[in-house]
Amino acid sequence: MILPVWTIGQKRAAGVLSGVIAAAVGIALAVGELPVRIAQIWESVLGLAAKKAVPAIVMDIASMVIQCSVIIGFISVAVMFMVWWERKVSAHMQSRLGPMETGGWHGWAQTIADAIKLLLKEDIVPEHASPWVHFLAPVVTFVPAFLCYAALPFGDKTISVDLDVGILYIFAISGISVLGIIMAGWGGGNKYSMLGGLRAAAQSVSYEIPRVLSVVPILMIAGSMKLTAIAAYQSEPVSWLPFLPKWFIFYPFIGQVSFLIFLICSVAETNRTPFDIAEAESELVAGFHTEYSGMKFSFFFLAEYAFVFLSSGMTAALFLGGGSGPLLPSWFWFLIKTFAVVFLFLWFRWTFPRMRVDRLMEFCWKFLLPWSFVNILVTGAWLILR
């Protein structure tokens, strides 16, 4: 075997990368399971509060506020990382380097600098815009994304509200954000954004249906709508899949069809290439957010990436066994799986052309929808005959 000859730069990069990975694994092992840690800390805080005679309701509110802040903080950091990552991935796919200057090491601070720039920019409201709709649209788009995270399990039991109807909740709430896109399209007073908004509405509403239906087989097998329960179901020991973990993606036929439909619909829901017709740059300039700049624009941006992460997290929880995995704590496994799915999103975006509107609809109604029904039928038959 001939080993590749590495240059000094490659050796250094490999060294730094393995160092980063080792540090991440070390930190993960040191922290351990999150719920245990959090419970410990919260117990001590409660003990302190009891000493000072703070009423229980204050502590409840404080708990909620802290959870909200953690989610907001997590979304911001995850999005910043994903934007940087996307720029790096796309750059390397296109035989260039991407950001290399800001912050020193491979431009790691580029997104932070961009975020600061966006926050400091002037807020421009176009003359023809209707001010209130224009103002509310980014909020209506972003808030549902944020709300959905409440029911997303970051590994075993690391969940802010463990709803019995977790999946239903996430689908329902994330569906609201399309309203924001329509509002943005209409409120901007621009023909391009209007076309973009209309396209987005048609697309999101259509793709929501096969997306929900693709999850139905999993609900039938797992017998629960609780995301933690579904994830836990997949981490049980296996009898009929000897080599593979009992993840839904490894269920013959049912798992793969569900996974593919869910993944395709998730890409469509997040308006990313090849389904980015709502903001198709070469056709509609910037689609529904043509008239947005600065802070408001960054909200759309944040929402898009938050939804990408949410979809990937759901994929990880529904199909890839959530936080199940050896050695490392469950939240770390969850993050690894989620970012692996995020990478799929990026891969699609930088290698595929854009689909056309009518073909997009055809694809949804004539291909994805029938197949998800077939999938449900097969699952039902299998469950009866099992």
Partner: protein, 376 residues
């Protein structure tokens, strides 16, 4: 018998048409083209391309410039293939002056023009990907184009406006080692075509977006005077390099690829094949590169005899022609440029009708216009 008129409630309701200005500032009009679209929903019912935003009056400028001075301006028509522009101007003036450039100059001209054709088609390939929504091919294409521009920089000193092909020959002989570099580039380029096929040509979404879109029938193509890859995409085998050879093109073996349906896909496919043919031509020209002079004897001040002439070549975008009238002065009396981009653009108003907004961009991109040449 009485005719009963049933009045349906709301039958007199109408949807409004929307007028959309595509451009002059729009990401994918390839410059400053403006297309006024009349839309019914997303379907186009009328399209009117409006040109002139980049008009610089080069034809008028020519009347106040001497013949060699005009060469500099010719670089600025189709700035993606400036070599072709140089060549056609030189051919026109040489025809007036009755000069025959030496054989080596002919070969060098062919090499440069064909390399420039590859570079120009690479820009088409990359930007067409962006028009369709695929961003990655663009940078791959520009990586290759960069190498061609490096080669041009070595021979001419410039990367965009070469001014290399001169009246009576070329600016200078090739630098030492240039032939080797060019050969290694061609070998490298050959390996890139399969890469393009996997990246864009073979993509089902791309094929879906281009096949059957923007169909230009043979009759329409001839009526509108369309030339170049757009004409060949419609299935008409017409190439000036074959049909009316200049610069010793008759010595080289190459095929003229033609499409079948005249849709965006055919126009795209023809261009990709043409790049492969150009690689072949450059290889043959390098193989048979004769020794000798690179310039014919040209008088210091050019005063062509009274008369008029028309010279035309197969530029990357179609037949590029120059019509000049000489009044035995050192400046042309009148110059007219037959710009293929401008003439190809006229078909847009006919083939866009009935398509969707997203097809406008696909169609516009497939015609491959350069606004510098459209407006001149």
């Amino acid at each position: 018998m009485t005719t009963e008129v049933i009045k349906i409630k709301g039958a007199d309701l109408q949807t409004e048409e929307m007028i959309l200005n595509l451009g002059p500032q729009h990401p994918s009009t390839h410059g400053v083209l403006r297309v006024i679209l009349k839309l019914d929903g997303e379907v186009i019912i009328a399209a009117e391309p409006e040109v002139g935003y980049l008009h610089r009056g080069t034809e008028k400028l020519a009347e106040n410039r001497t013949y060699p001075q005009m060469l500099v301006i010719s670089d600025r028509w189709d700035y993606l293939s400036a070599m072709s522009n140089n060549l056609v101007w030189c051919l026109a003036v040489e025809k007036l002056l009755q000069i025959k450039p030496p054989e080596k100059a002919d070969h060098l001209r062919v090499i440069m023009v064909e390399l420039n054709r590859i570079a120009s088609h690479l820009v088409f390939f990359g930007t067409y990907g962006i028009d369709i929504g695929a961003y990655t091919p663009f940078l791959h294409a520009f990586r290759e184009r960069e190498k061609i521009l490096d080669l041009f920089e070595e021979v001419s000193g410039a990367r965009m406006t070469y001014n290399y092909i001169r009246i009576g020959g070329v600016m200078a002989d090739l630098p030492a080692d240039w032939v080797g570099k060019c050969r290694s580039f061609l070998e490298w380029m050959k390996d890139r075509f399969p890469e393009y096929d996997t990246l864009l040509t073979g993509n089902p979404i791309f094929q879906d977006r281009t096949k059957g879109i923007g169909v230009l029938s043979q009759a329409q193509a001839i009526t509108y005077g369309v030339t170049g890859p757009n004409l060949r995409g419609s299935g008409i085998n017409f190439d000036l390099r074959k049909d009316e050879p200049y610069c010793s093109y008759e010595k080289f073996k190459f095929d003229v690829p033609t499409g079948a349906n005249g849709d965006c896909w055919d126009r795209y496919w023809v261009r990709i094949q043409e790049m492969k043919e150009s690689v072949k031509i450059v290889e043959q020209a390098l193989d048979g590169l004769p020794a000798g002079e690179t310039n014919a004897k040209v008088p210091r001040i050019l005063r062509p005899p009274m008369g008029e002439t028309y010279a035309q070549i197969e530029a990357p975008r179609g037949s590029l022609g120059i019509y000049t009238i000489s009044d035995a002065n050192d400046k042309p009396y009148r110059v007219h440029v037959r710009a293929p981009s401008f003439i190809n653009l006229t078909m847009l108003q006919e083939i866009l009708v009935g398509q969707k907004v997203s097809d406008v961009v696909a169609t516009l991109g497939s015609i491959d216009i350069v606004l510098g040449e459209v407006d001149r």
